[in-house]
């Protein structure tokens, strides 16, 4: 009986580990798949299917240490397969071809995974900024508008734009403390 109780416990622990894997990677994975399919609903379907597959083959996985790499690779291959099958190749842009043409056999490395996770983190952090502050920051750093253009568009002074940017950078620096590399990238975008 003790053995069986232990088995139940492993099952519960498995579920917790699985939920963590979902929480940590679901959003970045959807955006990763979206880069390939260009359709977010389809991307979500793909990622959900992969998670279900992963759960059904969990015994197999325990031998494989790098679950992250495995799941991203599964999502990529699944997405590419669908894109090819449904002939939506026109939607694939140059950059994706540059990244994914020949290498469906290759595993996706940690660098690529971290990239998507960090972008997710940045997005969530920008969303947490006060509304005006986030809007100004997005217009400047993501859409690449100049301070003068932003000032005109939002009908505020250039000085206020500078204040918002300063505040946004300060808040983001706190939120993204451990993600310095990506932060440097974001602050150096013209």
């Amino acid at each position: 009986l003790l053995l069986i109780v232990c088995e139940v416990e492993t099952l519960i622990l498995d579920k917790i580990a699985f939920k963590t894997l979902f929480d940590d990677h679901y959003r970045p994975l959807c955006n990763f798949a979206y880069r390939i399919t260009g359709d977010i609903d389809q991307a979500e379907d793909i990622v959900q299917d992969v998670y279900v597959k992963l759960w059904n083959n969990k015994e197999m996985l325990q031998k494989d240490k790098n679950v992250r790499s495995f799941i991203y690779t599964m999502v990529r291959n699944h997405a590419l397969e669908i894109v090819r099958r449904e002939g939506i190749g026109a939607r694939i842009n140059k950059e994706i071809l540059y990244l994914h043409t020949e290498e469906t056999e290759d595993m996706i490395d940690d660098e690529e995974i971290e990239k998507y996770r960090l972008i997710d983190k940045i997005y969530v952090s920008i969303r947490q900024l006060p509304p005006k502050c986030g809007e100004v920051f997005t217009l400047s750093k993501v859409n690449g508008l100049t301070y003068t253009q932003i000032a005109e568009r939002l009908d505020i002074s250039v000085k206020t734009v500078e204040n918002h940017i300063g505040k946004a950078l300060k808040l983001l620096r706190e939120m993204l403390a451990e993600s310095t590399v990506i932060f440097i990238i974001i602050t150096t975008i013209p």
Binding site: W55, Y123, V142, I185
Partner: protein, 310 residues
């Protein structure tokens, strides 16, 4: 040849044939060139991912996945031998035993809000918790609260919904109200319907836009001029041509903090137009300071306002 220009074209996919050839040569020239190109493409790609970031509903996704894995788990159990039947029976009994044990020991669910968040209860009620608040669901329609939360309670005339606070008990059938509760005092504000408050043997019925403050053995009912039902309902504090003082009084109530207005001048000429949606007190104050040149200090549970310049 302007490489930066052609790299951009390469990324956007619009380079002419001869430009591509030149770029390929350059790319093949050295490892450094290749790395540099990859770097630029990467950076461009990151900004582009961020620009096109897609939001997804994670809780719905998880529900989908959970449903599918349960469906898939079920038909797998096909015992072929008596031994297997016995084993799975034992397994099921053990599972029920374990789950019962878990349910028995820990009947209440505790929610601790590390950031502002919404909790959906099984009965269809929604509770929006302020950062650092603690909510304990002791049974189906019974909770206790420490901190601040806004309750949107689903109607159920048969089962009243009860909230225990540091000062007394609140009973409702289906309404919307806000509670701020700490050891010193408890404040309840009603934005929809009626709320019954019981404390130290006294009873009080509150109506829309009424606020009660309970401390020690005192109960004081008032209509607050500074805050409106819609503020709590939408987690929005909005101001249109309001005086700075008025704005700060509202902020103080909303964030459950004292206001110490140290400005001597009689006229408050600072007109404020702004909206705060689900923001922290610190962010609200920084933004107000930006608008009105406010000089302030947050000391414990008090905002001290020293001066402003509009």
């Amino acid at each position: 040849m302007n490489f930066k220009h052609s790299i951009i074209k390469y990324i956007t996919g619009s380079e002419a044939a001869e430009e591509k050839a030149a770029l390929d040569d350059w790319k093949a020239d050295s490892e450094e060139n290749l790395a540099a190109l990859k770097n630029i493409v990467d950076m461009q790609q990151q900004v582009s991912i961020l620009k096109n970031y897609q939001e997804v509903d994670t809780s719905r996704a998880w529900a989908n996945i959970e449903q599918k894995i349960q469906q898939n788990d079920a038909p797998k159990q096909k015992p072929n031998y008596i031994l297997k039947i016995a084993a799975s029976l034992l397994f099921i009994i053990a599972a029920i035993f374990v789950f019962n044990k878990i349910n028995e020991g820990n009947n209440s669910v505790e929610y601790l809000a590390t950031t502002n968040k919404t909790i959906d209860l099984q009965d269809g009620s929604h509770i929006w918790m302020q950062k650092n608040s603690k909510l304990n669901q002791t049974s189906y329609r019974n909770v206790s609260l420490d901190g601040q939360a806004y309750f949107d309670i689903a109607k159920d005339p048969k089962t009243p919904f009860e909230v225990s606070t540091h000062h007394g008990k609140i009973t409702v059938l289906g309404t919307e109200f806000n509670i701020i509760t700490s050891k010193d005092k408890t404040q309840i504000y009603v934005s929809e319907g009626k709320v019954k408050v019981e404390y130290a043997g006294k009873k009080q019925i509150l109506e829309v836009s009424q606020m009660i403050t309970i401390s020690e053995n005192e109960m004081a009912v008032a209509s607050s001029p500074f805050i409106k039902p819609v503020h709590w309902k939408n987690k929005i504090l909005s101001f249109e041509n309001n005086n700075l003082r008025y704005v700060l009084e509202s902020v103080a109530i909303y964030y459950n903090i004292q206001l110490d207005w140290q400005i001597k001048a009689k006229e408050d000429q600072c007109k404020i137009n702004t909206v705060f949606k689900d923001e922290t007190l610190e962010d609200v104050m920084i933004e107000l300071a930006l608008i009105s040149g406010l000089v302030y200090e947050i000391k414990g549970k008090t905002i001290i306002v020293k001066s402003y310049k509009c």
